[in-house]
C-alpha cells in the first residue's frame, strides 16, 4: 500500500456504532493516539475537518512556487481562506495564530525543527519562581521522546552539551550548508553555544518518507514527501492496525449524559449534515486554539461556560512564543535558497534564566536559509522580516535590484523563539460575529506580548546582531515581535492536580469529565522556548500508554 492510496481507506463507522475511542484532529497528537490505541486493539475513529494532503499541489519544485505559496500555503488560515479551516478573529491579538487543517495537521506547514524541551522547562517554579512546575519531569518524558523520534524519523547529532546525555538520533544530521556554517561562525566568534540542527526530516529513505533532497520549501509543504508528517509516518500504520479516519468532518460538540460522562461527538460531514459518533472515550487533539474552542462550544445549557470548565481555565493562559527574526546578508555566496528550511543550526546560549538580564526564562535561536528572490526582496509582505512601515519606493526600482543582489543567495535568517509565560488574560474565546463555513463560532484570540517577552526579545536581538556582525554581515534586518508567528499554540486547558485550578490531570483526563481527554499542547503548564511538536507527540504517547494500561479502570458512560 502506498501513501497515495490511503485516502480511499478508513471507512466511517457504522451508523450508531459505539467505538472505544473517538479522536478529534489528525495532526501529530491525534495521529500518535490513533496509532497506539489501534495497535492495542481499541476501535478508533478519528474525525478531521481537513483532507488528505495532495502532494501534487505542493509547488516547491515549480517556478510559480513563490507566487502560489503566499496564498495557498500561507500558514494563517485567514489568508488561506480555505473552507476546511476555521477563520480566527485576530482583532484583539498582537500575534496571529498559525495552523493548518488536514491529515498531518499544522505540521503540513511546519519547519520540522525537532527539539525536546529542556529539564528546566518542567521545573520553572522550583528554579525561577514563576508559573508552575509540570507534574512530571524531563526524565519521565525522555523514553517517550526517544520512541517518538524513531516513529517520526528524526535526523540529528547527539552529544549537545545543552541537553543531558542521550543516545544517537535515528538518522545522521542533514548537511548544514553554507548558511548553517556561517551562522555557526558568528556563534563561534562570540564563544557561544550552537549545534547542528535536528529536524523531523530523515536524511535517508524511511518507510513512506523519502530522503530529503534539500529543496528548501518545507514551510509550504514538501513536494518530495521527505518532511515527516503523520500522513506518511503514522497513518499508513494506523489504518493497517484498524483505525478509521473520517476527513471533512468538523466536530461541533462533545456530548455528555446525565452523569456528566462523554458519550461521543456531533460533527458536520462533507455534505453539511450533522452526524453523531458515539464513543466510550473522547480525545481532543485539535490544538491550543481548536480544543478550547470545541469545549466552549460544548456543554449546552447545563454548562453555559463550556464543557470541562468548572475551573474557569478553558481557553485561558494561551502561549504563542513571541518571535523575532534577523536577516543578515554577507558578501560571499551562501546558496541560501537551499534547504532544509527547518533549522540548519540552533543555539541555546540564552535558554536559561539569568536575572541580570532583566527578564526570566530564555530563548532558542534557529538558523535558516532566507529563500527565493521574491521573499528576500521584502517587496511583498510574505516574509516575516519585512517591516510594515516605510515608503513603497524603498522596495522597488533600483532598490529592488540592489536589495535582491545583496540578499539573494547571500543571506541567512536567525529566528528567535522566546519562552512565553502563562497569563490568564491571554486567551481563546468564542467570537460573537465571525463563523466558519458551517456557521460555527470562530475562535477569537485575546493576546498581548508581555513586558518579560519584550525585554527577552530585545536582549536576544542585540546579542544576535553581535553574532551575525562578528561573522561579517554587511546588512541586517530585524523584525520583532513578528505578527505572523503564532505557530506554537500552548496552554489553554492546563494540566494539574487541583481541579479548581486546572482542566486536566497529568494524564490528559478532564477533571470534570473523566472519559474526555486532551492530548495536544493545550495541556502544557508552561511553554518552554523550543519548538513544541516533539514534546506534544511524546506527551500524547505517554497519555495513550497510560490509557491502554488502565483500560479496565476507565470510567465510561
Amino acid at each position: 500500500m502506498n501513501v497515495e492510496s490511503l485516502s480511499e481507506r478508513g471507512a466511517r463507522a457504522r451508523r450508531d456504532e459505539e467505538v472505544d475511542v473517538a479522536i478529534v484532529g489528525a495532526g501529530p497528537s491525534g495521529s500518535v493516539a490513533a496509532l497506539h490505541l489501534a495497535r492495542a486493539g481499541f476501535s478508533v475513529v478519528v474525525l478531521e475537518q481537513g483532507e488528505w494532503p495532495e502532494y501534487n499541489d505542493y509547488t516547491g519544485a515549480r517556478p510559480e512556487h513563490e507566487l502560489v505559496s503566499t496564498k495557498l500555503w500561507h500558514p494563517n488560515p485567514n489568508v488561506r481562506d480555505n473552507p476546511n479551516d476555521y477563520p480566527v478573529d485576530t482583532s484583539t491579538t498582537d500575534i496571529n495564530p498559525l495552523m493548518f487543517a488536514g491529515v498531518g495537521g499544522s505540521a503540513t506547514l511546519y519547519g520540522a525543527q525537532w527539539m525536546h524541551f529542556l529539564p528546566s522547562d518542567f521545573r520553572v517554579r522550583s528554579l525561577d519562581g514563576v508559573a508552575e512546575d509540570w507534574p512530571f519531569s524531563y526524565e519521565d518524558l525522555l523514553p517517550y521522546q526517544l520512541e517518538i523520534e524513531r516513529e517520526v524519523g528524526v535526523s540529528g547529532l547527539a552529544g549537545d552539551p545543552a541537553f543531558p546525555p542521550r543516545g544517537p538520533y535515528p538518522f545522521p544530521a542533514l548537511p548544514i550548508g553554507s548558511v548553517g556554517l556561517r551562522g555557526a561562525l558568528g556563534m563561534e566568534r562570540m564563544g557561544w553555544h550552537w549545534w547542528p540542527g535536528s529536524n523531523a526530516i530523515p536524511s535517508e529513505k524511511f518507510g513512506e518518507l523519502n530522503a530529503c533532497v534539500r529543496r528548501g520549501t518545507c514551510l509550504t509543504g514538501c513536494p518530495e514527501g521527505a518532511k515527516s508528517t503523520t500522513d506518511r509516518s503514522h497513518w499508513p500504520l494506523a489504518l493497517k492496525a484498524g483505525a478509521r479516519l473520517v476527513t471533512r468532518a468538523r466536530v461541533k460538540e462533545v456530548e455528555t449524559n446525565e452523569q456528566g460522562l462523554a458519550t461521543g461527538v456531533v460533527y458536520v460531514d462533507a455534505n453539511g449534515r450533522d452526524r453523531r459518533q458515539r464513543a466510550k472515550v473522547v480525545i481532543l487533539c485539535a490544538n491550543g486554539v481548536g480544543t478550547p474552542r470545541l469545549l466552549l462550544m460544548s456543554g449546552g445549557a447545563k454548562h453555559p461556560d463550556g464543557l470541562a470548565n468548572s475551573s474557569g481555565m478553558v481557553g485561558k493562559r494561551l502561549m504563542m512564543h513571541p518571535f523575532a527574526s534577523i536577516l543578515a546578508s554577507y558578501t560571499d555566496p551562501l546558496d541560501s535558497w537551499r534547504g532544509p528550511f527547518g533549522q540548519q543550526v540552533y543555539s541555546l546560549e540564552f535558554y536559561e534564566t539569568d536575572e541580570r538580564r532583566g527578564f526570566v526564562r530564555g530563548s532558542k535561536w534557529n538558523c535558516m536559509p532566507s529563500g527565493g528572490p521574491v521573499g528576500v526582496s521584502g517587496a511583498i509582505g510574505s516574509k516575516v522580516y519585512v517591516a510594515e512601515e516605510g515608503r513603497f519606493q524603498d522596495f522597488w526600482g533600483a532598490n529592488l535590484h540592489e536589495n535582491v543582489a545583496r540578499r539573494f543567495g547571500h543571506s541567512l535568517i536567525w529566528g528567535i523563539v522566546g519562552e512565553d509565560l502563562p497569563e490568564e488574560e491571554n486567551q481563546v474565546v468564542l467570537s460573537k460575529d465571525l463563523v466558519d463555513s458551517d456557521g460555527l463560532p470562530a475562535p477569537q484570540i485575546i493576546y498581548k506580548v508581555n513586558e518579560n517577552s519584550n525585554r527577552l526579545l530585545q536582549f536576544n536581538i542585540d546579542r544576535c546582531l553581535e553574532s551575525v556582525r562578528a561573522a561579517g554581515a554587511i546588512e541586517t534586518l530585524v523584525s520583532t515581535p513578528v505578527r505572523e508567528s503564532g505557530w506554537h499554540l500552548i496552554g489553554t486547558t492546563v494540566m494539574g492536580d487541583d481541579p479548581k485550578r486546572s482542566v486536566v490531570d497529568q494524564w490528559g483526563a478532564c477533571h470534570d469529565v473523566p472519559n474526555l481527554y486532551i492530548m495536544d499542547a493545550s495541556t502544557f503548564p508552561t511553554s518552554g522556548a523550543t519548538n513544541p511538536t516533539a514534546t506534544i507527540m511524546a506527551v500524547a504517547l505517554r497519555n495513550t500508554r497510560r490509557m491502554i494500561a488502565e483500560r479496565r479502570n476507565q470510567k465510561v458512560a
Partner: protein, 135 residues
C-alpha cells in the same frame, strides 16, 4: 491606454533596468503576467482595478495613489509584477537561481564541523543545561 500598456508602464517603473538586470518589459510580456495571474485568481479583481487608469499622471503617482487608497489593487499589481519577473528564465539565469532544485548529498559523509574543530569548541565550553533531578 490599454490595460497591457498600463501594466507594462507600471511594471517598468517598479522593475527598471539596473546594472546587469533587465527592465520588466524587456524580458516579460503582459501575457506572462496574465499566466501568473492564473495561479492567483484571488488577485484578479484587484489586478484589473489597479490597471483601470489612463496614467495621465506618472506611473509613480498612480502607484502612490493605489498604495494609499486601494491596498488590495496595489498588492495585486506589484505581486504579479515581481513574481512574473523572477519566474522568468533569463532573469533567473542572471541571478544564478536554478529554482528550488533538488541536491543529492551523502548522508554519511563526515561533516566539516567535526573535522575543523569548531564543534569541539562547543563541547569544550561545557554543559549548558540546568539539571533537575530531585526537584
Amino acid at each position: 491606454m490599454s490595460k497591457d500598456k498600463t501594466f507594462l508602464a507600471l511594471a517598468d517603473f517598479l522593475i527598471p533596468a539596473h546594472g546587469e538586470m533587465p527592465a520588466f518589459g524587456s524580458v516579460c510580456s503582459f501575457a506572462d503576467a496574465e499566466k501568473a495571474l492564473d495561479f492567483r485568481v484571488d488577485l484578479k479583481e484587484g489586478f484589473h482595478r489597479g490597471l483601470d487608469a489612463d496614467l495621465a499622471s506618472s506611473a509613480e503617482a498612480h502607484l502612490e495613489r493605489l498604495n494609499k487608497e486601494d491596498g488590495a489593487a496595489f498588492s495585486a499589481v506589484t505581486t504579479i509584477a515581481i513574481c512574473t519577473y523572477y519566474m522568468n528564465p533569463r532573469v533567473r539565469e542572471l541571478l544564478g537561481y536554478p529554482g528550488q532544485e533538488s541536491v543529492l548529498y551523502d548522508s554519511k559523509a563526515t561533516q566539516i564541523y567535526l573535522t575543523d574543530g569548531s564543534l569541539g569548541h562547543v563541547l569544550a565550553r561545557g554543559r549548558k543545561y540546568r539539571p533537575t533531578p530531585g526537584l
